[in-house]
């Protein structure tokens, strides 16, 4: 899991453990400090905003589609003019291209302007250029709105790509959040149990983790997903093909990493004085685990979660790309990319748009993750 977060791979001493020290003359609580540092990181804040926007888009997708006037994500229209006589799809309406081109041109112009020495004197110029281009784009969009029927074109059975990209956001975000949450619950629990109780329990759990980590992950996930995607699902129909299977599979291959990390943390934490103190006061095991150790795990857990969510978005997309993920006709960015592989040479739009959507989403999460890391561990500044 090397994605550039070395401090998480260190089993021993955790820097910056947020210890609720007694009698500390703290001007600000650690939480406030953390929030303050995070707020100062503008890129992270903007990314958080983008994520919020994505979540809203996903939730309100049907409404947006109705407002825009696009057909639903599964409405097939095999007649012309959306399809040619050979059944190949047609591209985005030309009018819809203008707003994007304008914004792109404005961004490039602004970037160019910001690098020139003249801009240093007139600091506002790049920002103004960008803002103006956005305004022009919005005006154009409003003017051309009624005729921009298929904003992103149609796919090979005539479905609107714009609608499917929006609905794909639902799938990606839902799967990523739920699967991550599930793997966290399982991983944290097992990691804590293994780290705290040690002995045979630890050995058993660690061996299982080692065994699972020896598998090539994508193959394991593919195998499970394919096997469970047939007919009535597996485990007696408990795991229905589609969303449920994908979530289960992603959670299944993910829990081992967080379990290992948590186990490492717990191993070192249980030797600390405050734990000894609690034990000597007669606290039960469960009390120690939940009241003393768990709060100190919150920081690495949160950081890990923000790193893992974008990985899981990509993972679900990869599974769908290989045909083992979300079942059609549900829209998923990965399966849209898979459809695009047969005709990307003439139909670039349903390769570009889902891919760009994936890129933006994952990038936003990665930036937020970076910002969180910096805010929690200011010494290991990565930005």
């Amino acid at each position: 899991m090397s994605i550039g977060a070395p401090e998480l791979l260190v089993d021993a001493d955790v820097v910056d453990v947020v210890v609720p020290a007694v009698g500390d003359i703290a001007a600000r609580s650690p939480l406030e400090l953390f929030l303050r540092r995070f707020r100062q990181d503008r890129v992270a804040v903007i990314s958080l905003g983008v994520i919020g926007l994505l979540i809203l888009t996903a939730i309100f997708a049907p409404l947006i589609i109705k407002v825009v006037g696009a057909p639903g994500p599964n409405v097939q229209n095999e007649s012309q003019p959306t399809m040619t006589a050979f059944g190949t799809p047609t591209g985005p309406s030309h009018n819809a291209l203008w707003p994007f081109l304008v914004v792109l041109a404005g961004t490039l112009l602004a970037m160019l302007a910001s690098t020139s020495p003249w801009a240093r004197l007139h600091g506002r110029v790049p920002r103004t250029i960008f803002a103006v281009s956005v305004v022009i784009a919005i005006v154009l969009a409003i003017i051309f709105w009624p005729s921009a029927k298929h904003l992103f074109g149609v796919d090979s059975v005539g479905r609107d790509v714009f609608a499917r990209v929006l609905y794909g956001a639902r799938v990606s975000l839902f799967v990523a959040f739920v699967a991550t949450g599930l793997s966290m619950i399982v991983g944290v629990t097992l990691g804590m149990v293994a780290g705290y109780f040690r002995g045979p329990v630890d050995m058993a759990i660690s061996r299982v983790i080692d065994l699972l980590l020896a598998f090539p992950i994508l193959l394991l996930a593919l195998g499970l997903a394919t096997a469970c995607s047939l007919g009535h699902g597996c485990f007696g129909g408990l795991l229905k093909p589609g969303l449920v299977v994908v979530i289960f599979v992603i959670a299944f291959v993910n829990w081992t990493y967080i379990a290992r990390i948590v186990r490492g943390q717990v191993l070192s934490l249980r030797e600390k004085e405050f734990v000894e103190a609690a034990r000597s006061l007669g606290a039960s095991n469960s009390r120690i685990i939940f009241k003393e150790i768990l709060p100190n795990l919150v920081a690495p857990i949160i950081v890990y979660a923000t790193l893992i969510i974008p990985q899981n978005i990509l993972f679900e997309a990869a599974l769908s790309f290989l045909g083992a993920g979300i079942q059609p006709p549900t829209a998923s960015w990965g399966s849209m990319l898979a459809d695009a592989t047969t005709s990307y040479n003439i139909a670039w739009w349903y390769m570009v748009f889902p891919g760009a959507a994936l890129l933006i989403t994952v990038l936003a999460f990665n930036l937020v993750g970076d910002g969180l890391q910096d805010a929690l561990h200011p010494k290991s500044a990565s930005n």
Binding site: L213, F215, L314, L322, M351, N366
Partner: protein
């Protein structure tokens, strides 16, 4: 030291046994296709399928089948016979291995070199324009799905269907022994696509480590002693900062050698990844076993090498 190595080796063997058992159970209990039907091919009668099932030993209980398989594997190095390709599994795997190795190792060279260079420069000049743009590009490279990058680059640069045809595209892999020049040009695009996200990760990793190391006391001492800056960076800085990279590289290469499914799919490179993927789709159990075991083998062995390397460097590890 020797006891440590032996202990780890035994554990590797135990792990591989475990992997084979779990794979067998998974694909036996949750089969995606009836192997006898695969072998039987076209319009088979029920009687033919029954006869083939018996002939291939598929009607025996699963643990018997597993033992038969392990016996053949351990005693005769026989991986079984593929129902899908009508060829021994071993032959198929070894004929596909060179392609995956070419892809994985070539990409590894590219990402290590570029990652180290970019990471070093960024660490030396933190928050400069180079640093910021490079780290920004790195984040983008990490966030883009590799198969999408592959598709976009094919769409733009592939000689057969691209808009600006400059590089051979999908399906242009030739083995090294057949034509080294074509082998090289055919792999440039896949290498770059595969190396992109890894280079980004390693650049960030090195940057972070190097910046931490450069703020250590002994660096300050070296500078105070008058050591030239370049030597400080190369001799003292990178040396300490690079260890996590090497271990990460070992692990990553191990994973890639087991098959780079996504990139191989997009560029139709005849490697292990595509073989494993097709065999999973077709429920070809012996081939699935073979490819998963191979992948696990590489992962575990590379981990072992990395761990032994660490044990050399840090004696404390041996006693854990």
């Amino acid at each position: 030291m020797t006891t440590y190595i032996i202990r780890r080796l035994l554990w590797v063997i135990a792990l591989l046994f475990g992997v084979s058992l779990v794979t067998f159970v998974i694909f036996y209990l949750l089969p995606s296709a009836n192997p006898a039907l695969l072998r039987a091919g076209h319009q088979p009668t029920a009687a033919l399928i029954k006869a083939i099932t018996h002939q291939l030993g598929l009607d025996k209980p699963w643990y018997v089948q597993y033992l038969d398989y392990m016996k053949a594997l351990v005693l005769h190095f026989n991986f079984g016979y593929s129902y899908q390709y009508q060829t021994p599994v071993k032959t198929m795997i070894f004929s596909r291995l060179p392609a995956t190795i070419s892809l994985a190792l070539g990409a590894a060279v590219i990402w290590l070199v570029s990652g180290i260079i970019v990471g070093t420069i960024s660490a030396i000049r933190p928050r400069s324009r180079f640093d910021r743009s490079m780290m920004g590009a790195a984040l983008v490279a990490i966030s883009a799905p590799p198969y999408w990058l592959g598709l976009v680059s094919l769409f733009l640069f592939s000689t057969s269907v691209g808009r600006f045809p400059i590089l051979p595209g999908a399906g242009s892999y030739v083995p090294l022994t057949q034509n080294p020049v074509h082998w090289f040009t055919g792999l440039i695009m896949p290498w770059l696509v595969l190396a992109a996200s890894f280079a980004a990760i390693y650049a960030r990793l090195l940057r972070g480590n190097l910046m931490e190391v450069m703020s250590e006391d002994y660096i300050r001492t070296a500078r105070a002693k008058g050591v030239p800056e370049r030597r400080v960076i190369l001799r003292h800085g990178i040396r300490s900062a690079i260890t996590p990279l090497v271990s990460a590289a070992g692990v990553d290469i191990g994973v890639l050698l087991g098959g780079v499914i996504l990139v191989e799919q997009v560029f139709t490179i005849p490697g292990i990844g595509g073989l494993a993927y097709q065999s999973i789709l077709n429920g070809d159990l012996p081939m699935i076993q073979g490819t998963v075991l191979l992948g696990a083998f590489f992962i575990v062995v590379m981990n072992l090498i990395v761990d032994i390397g660490y044990a050399f460097i840090d004696p404390r590890v041996r006693y854990s």
